[in-house]
Symmetry: D2
Subunit: 283 residues, 4 copies
């Protein structure tokens, strides 16, 4: 009468900090890891039979144990290690490991960055999503929580006007958004030797540079321009998806107080916000 449909389970928000002390100049890595498994878990749901269940507590232990021998390297490479481990269980069809890397920078001292003291740099979160199955692995990477603002070179004109339209056309407005971007690497990325850190830095730099330099006729076009540039800059990337809230900044009406407002004073809002979600891919 009823049947089990799509299902997965795992452990979320495993907080992992590693310190590599192999030299006096410590390396710090701070990750939040989610593990999720799909496979032969019908009996666990339908019959209350836990035989095939790998406890989520075991997943947590496994992440900490596998991190022990992977103190250096990219989140993607650690993710591949973890995902392949879980894909090795006979009952697992697919293991997905999501890693969010929280940025830390060395505290600047007169003679360079401190060897053992760090400040959390909150400008973005680096994301890696690794999926492994018995037959192979795939890697996606991305950025979250990157808040940016263009104080000019953004317009919004020529849009549809109907009975409920009151928005004025804007030839020069503030554009502000909190970027979520995710991109997929081709199959070769899962093979040894792919430099995930290098690819991430290229993606981040391209995104920020194009964001700063382009003229935006709409957030939709900005997605197309930025994503296309990222694909152009890195042939290993197959597609780029962006999800961009439009964090509206409204010009305050100061004429009521006998003052002009030459695009100088704004009220910043978060609610409600536009939300633009689009993927650009190679043809």
């Amino acid at each position: 009468m009823f049947e089990l449909g799509a299902n997965r389970y795992g452990k979320s928000r495993i907080r992992l900090v590693t310190v590599d002390r192999t030299t006096p100049r410590h390396d710090l890595r701070d990750l939040t890891v989610d593990v999720s498994l799909e496979g032969d878990f019908t009996a666990a749901h339908v019959d209350g039979n836990n035989t095939n269940i790998i406890a989520t507590d075991t997943m947590k232990n496994t992440v900490y144990a596998l991190a022990r021998d992977n103190l250096a390297g990219s989140p993607e490479s650690l993710g591949l290690t973890i995902a392949r481990h879980f894909a090795g269980y006979p009952q697992v069809d697919r293991a997905v490991v999501t890693l969010r890397q929280h940025g830390w920078a060395r505290i600047p001292l007169e003679d360079g960055g401190a060897p053992d003291a760090f400040v959390r740099s909150g400008d973005l979160t680096r994301v890696a999503v690794v999926a492994a199955s018995p037959s192979g692995a795939s890697v996606e990477a991305g950025i979250e929580d990157l808040t940016v603002m263009k104080t000019t070179k953004s317009a919004f004109v020529g849009f549809e006007r109907d009975a409920f339209t009151t928005l004025l056309e804007a030839t020069d407005r503030i554009m502000a958004t909190k970027i979520t971007a995710l991109w997929g690497y081709g199959e070769t990325a899962a093979e040894p030797g792919f430099d995930f850190d290098d690819a991430f830095e290229r993606a981040r730099t391209t995104l920020l540079t194009v964001l700063a330099e382009h003229v935006s006729p709409s957030v939709q076009t900005s997605v197309w321009i930025m994503a296309s540039a990222m694909l152009e800059a890195d042939p290993s990337m197959d597609w780029v998806r962006m999800v961009l809230p439009n964090l509206h900044h409204w010009t305050v009406d100061l004429a009521r107080f006998g003052l002009d407002n030459p695009s100088a004073v704004y009220v910043s809002t978060t609610e409600p916000h536009g939300l633009i979600d689009a993927t650009v891919r190679r043809t």
Copy 2:
């Protein structure tokens, strides 16, 4: 070389409160509404041509205007009105409206509930997701933020043990979770006369009753048992999906202080947490 893939855009977190004052006993409704459109928006992305773009500001205005003549009724019915409005634009293939209804209860007075004073009841958020296209509409409904706890009748034994397993078997543990449930109604729900409030109450009551009464061998089995009961209770429901974090409560080791702990003192945790996600559907 590149092409636009999946894309949608809209307005999120439109905060709408309506008061129906047609009798001295006011009715209060508090919604957060998201609107999202898919359709012929390629030119807006690729060419910077906004002709087809319905501004998200217009979407916000539309929600407020359409709410004016819909002060009473379920969130689903308001959602159908909004979604069908947007599906009427020639460039729109699909409009999705998500409505989260925040609960308010009358303040209890000696002679019954206050006619015009309310307290926010934070025990759950009611969700409606309505999709409309030129050819029809579909309705999903759900629950978010429903935090529950079973202080007994929950066990977890017989799971796989490997080199990284340290979790002990538990024949009597606390089960705590924050329920997200979503279910799909069949096609007839979008026709006039379907009682969404009644269906929601039936779903909520069934879910809570079965949650309280059943014996849980795992969170996975709990999903199966609760979702099956909801499908049994309401033939208009096609499927139920649940996403349940396992909010672990660990028994505190008091033996270190010369005390016993007969399942009495727990530390409540949120991080990390298990996460179980499964759909049950009619065969």
Copy 3:
């Protein structure tokens, strides 16, 4: 040249859940506890001498251990036990224990509330603040996170108008706020036999009833009216402080769309908000 000024330290956000299983009808209590100590800790700051330091980890252990023999009773009484324990250390001048009790209600079943299954009722957080010193103890209690709305019987007229005033007078507006209230009991409350649960219920009921029934000419006057009523209702209460954000609900201008808006459709906002903070006390 420099000296230590005011200082305190402690453990915050100790998550304590207790289950009283002495009958088949379990009792559930869910608390977040903060402990804070003041005393002779100058050497710990100035000399790096930890002799007098009670580790905050020890505080956490102590809370769990003392909870073992206090599975029943009010948060205030548990707070008195914990605070007096810490005030017994010779180096402690004052121990402050803050307890936030998260509400849980039995899941309703056909034959009454479930004996062992609960739903989190998010309508308010009950707060207790207990301070103990070698010479005595004092108790404060309160409410947080109680969000309420009056859909009429609220006005705001006759306020000062200057060059920057644009707000129109309102003879009938929505009043919405998220109540934080704290009150102090007299000295006898710390003696055995005081019924903190009864006093809390009286305070809560009085607050809600007066909130619902009074006519508000301003949030400031509402504080005076509600707090005075609470003091009248309970002679053991010395003072009441309220901190009330004014969560503005603005009437949407629908005339732009050819519609009236007879106090029916509002936009709910949280930012910016008014904030009213006042104490009423016995003369």
Copy 4:
């Protein structure tokens, strides 16, 4: 029978963004402003007489209007302008303006920072608290949300051991905290010519440098050492208060899996946390 005690009211979370476009290289400032007034407001509470009430909506308007002619300069100087404005009303005894400045950095391009595109730098929030009365003004400044970590040079030994102590002594532990620091400038700071930006940078640099370099026998001693250094570095500072959560990082026990853990793999926690609060002042 009852009387009004301490009271204040105002507007919180006024979101103000200003863009100075006087050169093609725009300057961006992003502030959240709170205004709070004390004074002759008894009638507003007790009698429902709003004559003396400056509407909080007027406060919001005033902040935007006064910002118009203060597009450049420190948050402290804008705060002085606003606070003195409100202290000019006859019914106001004291106006307190709190400004939180959210950091933005120019997006780096090949030829330097972008003139009109910015990225939110989330490493700290700069705080200014300005109080004005008819007789004068005072200025406090501070830092919030500065998360830091020392991977060595932190210990905790020699603390009190009692029946509830299980924490082991640690000669080399991770110290992590989210710094809130606030300091008070002497009276001359409110006079024209004081360089608040310079003073803030000196405070920030001293705090971070000492944090990185010192050896910490406890968080309490760290507060003393850092605050003393800040007072030494700036004679215009009268006192420094720090509130430091101790964000515990626990070494994972990997021996259960046949692995060593040479201070390499940690679980990062936020709940519960120690909380150290101390002020250091000139004698």
